[in-house]
């Protein structure tokens, strides 16, 4: 179906159900319960899950398939974001041109950087991409302030021309990004007993784009082109003795992943019309590497899971403070309660980076295939044991 094999179609269906029902299962705890803090089903975070999912899927097409480790992909996300905000400022508040143009701009940007960086491989390639991204970041935050808004970031303003919508007269409010009048920030809420679910327009637009992005990724993975990319990773030299020039293949993969990053950047500004320079910093590039590896390099759903996990940590785990800890352990005797809080304190709240660092180390040491690799290993072991028992 849709040109996919049965398994791939089921995988796409799984992701479809996952993103469609996310507002429901991301809020597993009833409102007001002690664990409501762990609910993640609010629009901003859900948007982030899918947008960074798109970013990571694209990154995985380069890193997972060809093995080229780019430390500069955040630059494409940033370039896409800037292009997107400019579209919202100059053209129309409708998000479609913003998303399309940001993808194209990131694509052009990645052709240039990819063409130069791919002249080298291994860590030399990584350093070249890192250097380009750091240059983009440094310039965007300073010299390019007229174009990028500098360190404050680029925002929409009352006086923007918006030639298709007509400019605002200075009074009133800046229009919110919308899809033919349907504002991205619009939500419907549903109460079921104590549970509360929020269905947000922006989220479903992003989720729809994620599905397309995921579908395209499956097609690429299963295509002759995808196989060539895997061959690049496996044995670059041999590929050229087989009559294939590896460089156009890697460049194509680089540009595709750059366009995915630009698409993610475009969606980000469609959800929230601000583009900040630090989006391009090398740590932001590092983050997508971590997402991909945490989830499982070269697997289809791994990057999406990795992106979700990291964003969950950043937004939920970081908000646990001592008061909450005391509430949770209130049932224990005082001494033990305080002891538990003291033990856990360094790892939550503002210490979430520490937990993240430790988690990476554990995943890399014990689960080289990432979470998906680990899970499928577990599944295989259980399955095989069962079949042996029969």
């Amino acid at each position: 179906m849709l040109g996919l094999s049965r398994n791939d179609f089921l995988l796409l269906l799984f992701v479809l159900v996952l993103v469609a029902a996310a507002p429901i299962f991301l809020n597993p705890f009833p409102e007001g319960s002690e664990f409501a803090q762990f609910n993640a089903g609010y629009p901003d975070l859900m948007q982030r899950f899918v947008i960074f999912g798109i970013f990571a899927i694209g990154f995985n097409i380069l890193f997972g398939l060809t093995g080229y480790l780019s430390f500069g992909h955040a630059a494409f996300l940033g370039a896409g974001s800037y292009a997107g905000v400019w579209m919202l400022k100059l053209l129309t508040i409708n998000v479609i041109p913003a998303i399309v143009v940001s993808t194209i701009v990131a694509g052009i940007f990645s052709v240039i950087i990819g063409y130069i960086s791919l002249r080298r491989s291994g860590i030399y390639f990584s350093i070249l991409t890192l250097a380009f991204a750091q240059m983009s970041f440094a310039l965007a935050a300073s010299v390019l302030t007229p174009i990028t808004g500098g360190e404050t970031g680029l925002q929409t303003a009352l006086h923007d021309p918006r030639i298709l919508d007509g400019a605002s007269d200075g009074a009133g409010n800046i229009p919110a990004p919308s899809l033919f009048g349907l504002e991205m920030k619009q939500s419907w809420q549903v109460n079921v007993g104590d549970w509360l679910w929020t269905f947000n327009v922006g989220y479903y637009l992003s989720a729809f784009v994620l599905l397309i992005a995921f579908y395209i990724a499956i097609r690429i993975f299963r295509s002759p082109f995808g196989m060539m990319l895997k061959a690049v990773k496996s044995n670059n030299q041999r590929l050229s003795y087989t009559g294939i020039s590896p460089r156009p293949y890697t460049l194509a993969a680089f540009v595709i992943s750059g366009m995915y990053a630009g698409l993610a950047g475009g969606l980000m500004v469609a959800m929230d019309p601000l583009a900040g320079a630090e989006r391009m910093q090398w740590t932001a590039s590092g983050e997508v590497v971590l997402m991909t590896i945490l989830g499982g390099v070269g697997t289809l759903v791994g990057p999406v899971l990795g992106a979700g996990l990291i964003k969950y940590f950043e937004n939920i785990f970081s908000k646990i403070n001592d008061n909450l800890l005391h509430q949770w352990f209130a049932f224990m005797p005082d001494g033990i309660e305080d002891f538990m809080v003291t033990i856990i304190h360094p790892f939550v709240g503002k210490g979430w980076h520490l937990t993240l660092g430790l988690m990476f180390m554990l995943v890399v040491v014990f689960l080289p295939g990432g979470l998906v690799g680990g899970l499928s290993g577990l599944y295989r072991r259980v399955f095989q044991r069962r079949s042996k028992a029969q």
Binding site: G67, L69, I116, R119, R120, S121, G122, I123, Y124, I127, L128, L130, A131, F132, Q134, M135, A138, L139, S142, V143, L144, N236, W282, T283, G286, V289, L290, I293, V297, P346, G351, H353, L354, L356, G357, L358, M359, F360, M361, V364, V365, P368
Partner: protein
């Protein structure tokens, strides 16, 4: 451009280059011997700096007496802190000891850094010799985050001033020594100390590798690990020691750097990216390349920050290192002094 302005920036570059070179030296040593890409190396530099902070804290560890004649900000009797060191050795000697905290921290940092290095290698890095470079980068990157978060939890996020000894405060009028007007080429004493210190460490590392049997075995191991292993030499143990030495070099670079820039928890990450660029520009695994590239990039960075240059090309000071890296890597694929085939796919 005046000659004096030129010389001034060369001096500044030497100084910055010293720090780059020392960090890159350890980084490339670890890569050359163990084949490991260590993203936690910047963290070692940072920990070294915090060795100086810790020693300063120990030395200024105080007991509190209440001074009834003065009041604190709440109108209560002022708490006066007296360091134990002053109590034990008398005020003058005690203050002198505190004053010399940074040089003393060298002695403190060497064993600490060696131990940290050994522990890191035995506990973590050695399990990654056979793993892909991406895994090494990730696990050491994770370790770097963990280390810097621990430091932040203890020392806070703000910078902590660690002054140089009184004797080194002030600056040398270098210009007058070579016939310029006074006040034209000025160079702080501590930066002179830092440069000399860096040269000594670099020379010591080279001499150690060049003239000792240990060093010879390690160099042979860098060239061909398996063959040396076949000779029945326990190369692993030596590599552990090399890791410790690389950690100590980074740590000492950090200790001595504290009076130049007050340390904070993310200084390691700040230096990490640049030192990687330095190593790659110098050629992965090339010790001489790392030192050379460190100084070249340091001096380039200094030139790019001159007013005349920035006015000519705005923003060049922000990007010059990366620009240089791109140009060098495209012109000389394996860096300045790199060997063929190292770290390519």
């Amino acid at each position: 451009m005046e000659l004096s302005a030129f010389l001034l920036q060369v001096l500044n570059g030497l100084d910055k280059g010293s720090a780059y070179a020392l960090i890159a030296l350890g980084l490339t040593l670890i890569f050359g011997t163990l084949g490991v890409v260590n993203f936690a190396h910047g963290a070692l530099f940072m920990i070294g700096a915090f060795c100086a902070v810790t020693l300063q804290k120990i030395l200024t560890h105080s007991f509190i007496t209440l001074d009834e004649t003065k009041t604190d900000f709440l109108g209560k009797p002022l708490k006066v802190k007296t360091p134990y060191v002053e109590e034990w050795f008398g005020q003058v000697a005690g203050q002198a000891i505190i004053d010399w905290a940074v040089p003393l921290a060298i002695l403190f940092a060497i064993p600490v850094m060696l131990l940290i290095g050994f522990a890191m290698e035995r506990g973590l890095i050695k399990h990654f010799y056979k793993r892909p470079h991406a895994d090494q980068i990730l696990v050491t990157f994770g370790l770097a985050i963990v280390l810097q978060e621990i430091i932040k939890a203890y020392f806070g996020a703000n910078q902590i001033p660690v002054p140089a000894p009184e004797a080194f405060i002030g600056s040398l009028d270098f210009g007058t020594l070579i016939g310029f007007d006074p006040g034209v080429i000025i160079y702080p004493y501590w930066r002179v100390v830092y440069f000399i210190f860096a040269m000594i460490i670099i020379a010591a590392v080279f001499a150690f590798l060049q003239f000792t049997t240990f060093g010879m075995v390690v160099r042979a191991g860098m060239a061909d690990r398996e063959t040396v292993g076949l000779l029945g030499i326990d190369i692993d143990k030596r590599f552990t020691i090399m890791f410790g030495i690389a950690a100590a070099v980074a740590g000492l670079a950090g200790v001595m750097y504290t009076p130049i820039n007050p340390p904070n928890y993310h200084m390691g990450m700040d230096f990490l990216v640049i030192s990687f660029v330095v190593v790659v520009v110098g050629g992965m695994g090339s010790l001489g390349g790392a030192v050379l590239a460190g100084f070249i990039l340091g001096i380039l960075e200094s030139f790019a920050s001159m007013r005349e240059v920035i006015e000519f090309i705005p923003g060049i000071n922000q990007v010059v290192i990366y620009l240089a890296a791109i140009v060098i890597l495209l012109a000389r694929p394996r860096g300045l002094l790199g060997r063929k085939g190292v770290m390519e796919s």
